[in-house]
Symmetry: D2
Subunit: 338 residues, 4 copies
């Protein structure tokens, strides 16, 4: 951590600050300059609060150099983490996983039929929303527990592990009992109470990046879950919000090499929510695999025109099957199986 | 709502779509053009789901014209809503309210002393965080229930109603019992489960705008609370996330005339979190009052250098007192009291 | 185009507006609704100015449905445009092009040596900046004409066509004489005077997307060049500005399928400027090819530590050669040569 | 400037880097840490190129602490600059200036009539576009030289100095001869060739902030003009591009205290282009004055419905007159005249 000190700061103020910092166990080097001085801090600066230091009138600026995360940091955990989702391994050099399914579960018949279709097309997990975060209180909010049980039925019929979104702590028991991979949506990425409560389970968590969150904040949210006792976190990029209007969100594929460099966690891409348009899903899926993603999560619906939510971004099963086939060829080029 | 139809769409597909729309009770006018057709829908289109319509292969584009909110909409509720917070009226032509206090409650002594200082300076409510949303799991998370009780003590001593942030539904009873104005933070603006649970209380809600949320989404979150049975919503702008680095967030003051035009709800500005720098708080406060804000919520600390969180953006009581004085003069110019 | 009319608008105002619109040769359908009326316009609405219509007090909202571009629009030009750059074909089903070279030309020896290295690695064009857009007036501004002549020397030695950035209209003759592909940088994407002057040449133009420009605005800038008489436009995505701090810009690869759907122009990706970090260039290059890009433009330097600008994002020639090899394999999977 | 060094960097690499830095005349302090070392640089670091240092494999990160601008920096020029525009003083404790006029000059009669109206309402300068930057090549591009001469006619009739936008270097002579305050538009803020050419004149420059430019980049563009020999720069905020859709841009009023703190240049606000909607112009104007702006530039048209461009954001003269009156009262509260 680097602290810039105003030239006008009284000497005793600076000395007091240095003494205070040293009390926190860090080593401080004082560099005297012409227009300002600089304090260089080394040691465990993760415990220091930039904002509190910044409030000191002698201080002009504070810059953190070491990453604020530890458990997720590849520096302290060099090997890839491989997360086990009901027997399916995700991350490292394991097979790339493809997760398919509808935005919303609409009933047992629908979800079983889509589950069979995505399995046949090559998906190894089934997604389906039972609790739906909708911008409007008047929009369909999901079948809730009934939807979860429909997913369980689809798993029984196909053997596919199931992925579904959890929106509040009070349903953790239900999800722990029935769901194989618990999704935390973009809007809840910084719902810290929910993140903390995920330590109560050892179920793998699929943590989506928030719409306006930096990669660092996203890793910090993974750190929350890990610090609460659950190391089984898979990250999922689903687009960020920008000024562009031709896509719903801007898919940021550069997260793939960055997450792999800075953390040891698997990274999965969601091209359906990112683009919001089924016509762009295939191109973005191939790009994600080429860039090194550990998996894809894609919306598939047998009748997108009638989908209860997000129909415009869903693929029909035959298009999805072709997409998986192409992704497999790309995977081979980058040295992975799918 | 306007639906653009592809020229290549088979006639029976379009007829089926029109019939389907009419079944939902809207009136459809079909305009035939050279490169595409257009369907004009009038009636109660709020119930229609754009995305489902968009998934129809015949459809090229869907544009919503009527606002998707009703309870918050000034069109259906022309008079200003005035929200009563423990006897303090907010909104309409009522006095502009100034809320002051520390980012975090750090103990009874601290909060009582700041409460007295902000009251003397002209604040009519006291703010203080007991449950703190922090990016890092290693940062101070707030005194929690103890902090709430310290606020209650400060209210007893000063008579100031208290404002504090609620982060999860399981604390609603505690907040309903002790807190006068329940703050929902930016990161929870689209925590829909939390929004729904706020219908269980009639306590006023201070709903902050999310970091990357449009004004429309923000109003929709107010609509969630109102639709759940609690009409007492006050909106609070606290800056949005942009590429700018000299401020923590970009304070969007244009929300003031927009919220007043589109809704009947009061709007309050938080210049402290928006700028993240105490040096810019006064200028932004005066600007907010000049633009027509119904109130301000400002961080005040008697010792910002030692504040447990966000010290860099806190004002000392004497600066805060001067700020209130200047705001009062601006208020008179725009025809309001403070 | 759709115009929403206020219910409160006097009848004669609306009739006047309709008459005025019909005078511009468009056909207007008037849809009467409960809370507002709607005018549906069909015909050549490209000539209408939304803003002028919006200024009418009777009007609540104006929505454009047809795209505002014509010459670049695939609707009116269904086949892919293939642009010829000194014999190298770009776009359509032609070979994917790889352009390599340093950010800045630093002298004849340097550029010749890099040209030979990138040619050997598989590049088919040489890039090099002679006129440099630098944020600081104190930073190196490029070798200018001398740099252009150094590029010409490198072309003579290697046969590689040369790409360089033009920053002002007064150098068009120089570029027309010496350069094979004229690059227009992100900061000049809406330098409309420069765009208009590009009609004076028939040289191909590499038009970079502006840092905060929508895809539609970018296509409109291509339209400017085409409308001025030069149809030889190649688009180049180089990242947009967002709140993310781990990359210099956010590379938006979704432009690839979108540009191919909406226009007939070739699209090239610049992963070096987008990420600003050589470590992420390979992953983003592979992703771009997988998504269907027609080419890549990549910074290569034989000694990045000593590069006069942007060293941190340059690849060394051996890494670049490996990257080209991998891109070739990806290209085959998506049915292209490289 | 702070350079973080990788722990794995060979000792001689680090020594070479330090020697190289010292050759550039800066003083380097080497701080040894556990996970990385830090080099603290003091002295004239403005000449160092971060990117070139970043390209060194031993280097992990580079952080600039001193501002990269000098001529615009208040640190080296503590008193406010007051810019003289044909006798009207702008900045410091001078009267707040209000500039009014149409987006585009549409003819002598129109501009003279508007000039008289804005003068009567209290404006002290007249704005009017003769060269118009339009997204579409098919939109009205301005009356050009004819428009400039119409402005001159309006000045002759009213005495108001005239403000108009310059879009290319080849018109500098025309502007130098006829225009009193040369506006550089948002899209040309980083048209560095144009900026450099502004040193050829001593005419005051109104430099608008780019749509996606940081405050620092904006100051650097002022620095370009100043370094080229013209110290007469006035900055103008006109909104930045964000994800918000209810306004055309997001007006960032926090620039007012920031520009005043970091530079000695005057700052003017353009609420018309920022909001894009005449209904929000008054509120934003009052806010700007309250926050300490040195002036406003506002679009006024006698017949907005017929304006050739941007009619939707223009005020009619009577509304403008009321706005000026209210701004005057706000100005008095903050200790300024208008």
């Amino acid at each position: 951590m680097i602290i810039t000190i105003k030239k006008s700061a009284p000497k005793q103020e600076v000395e007091k600050l240095i003494a205070d910092l040293e009390k926190h166990g860090v080593q401080v080097t004082h560099v005297v300059g012409e227009t300002h001085d600089v304090l260089g801090l080394v040691g465990d600066t993760a415990k220091l609060d930039e904002k509190r230091i910044m409030a000191n009138v002698a201080v002009r600026n504070v810059t953190r150099i070491a990453a604020p995360y530890k458990l997720a940091n590849r520096l302290f955990h060099p090997e890839d983490s491989v997360i086990d989702v009901a027997g399916i391994k995700v991350g490292g050099q394991e097979k790339i996983v493809v997760i398919g399914g509808p935005c919303s579960v609409e009933g047992a018949e629908q979800i079983v039929s889509i589950a069979q279709a995505v399995k046949e097309a090559g998906a190894v997990m089934l997604r389906g929303g039972a609790y739906k975060p909708r911008t409007s209180p008047y929009a369909f909010q999901g079948l809730q527990t009934e939807g979860i049980l429909d997913l369980v039925e689809a798993r029984r019929k196909t053997g596919l592990p199931i992925v579904s979104e959890l929106m509040s702590s009070d349903k953790i028991e239900e999800f722990d009992k029935y769901v194989d991979l618990i999704q935390i949506g973009a809007r809840n990425m910084q719902n810290f109470e929910l993140l903390k409560s995920l330590g109560k389970t050892q179920k793998p968590i699929l943590l989506k990046r928030g719409l306006a969150n930096t990669i660092e904040e996203w890793i910090m949210s993974a750190e929350y879950i890990m610090a609460a006792g659950n190391p089984n976190v898979i990250l999922c990029e689903r687009g960020i919000r920008t000024f562009e209007k031709y896509t719903r969100n801007t898919l940021d594929l550069s997260v793939i090499p960055i997450i792999k460099e800075r953390t040891h966690l698997p990274i999965i891409i969601d091209p359906s929510h990112a683009t919001g348009d089924y016509r762009y899903v295939e191109a973005m899926s191939l790009a994600a695999i080429a860039a090194g993603a550990d998996g894809l999560i894609i919306e598939v619906h047998n009748n997108p025109e009638c989908a209860w939510s997000d129909g415009g971004q869903s693929l029909k099963p035959d298009k999805f099957a072709r997409l998986v086939e192409k992704c497999r060829s790309i995977a081979h080029v980058v040295g992975r199986e799918l």
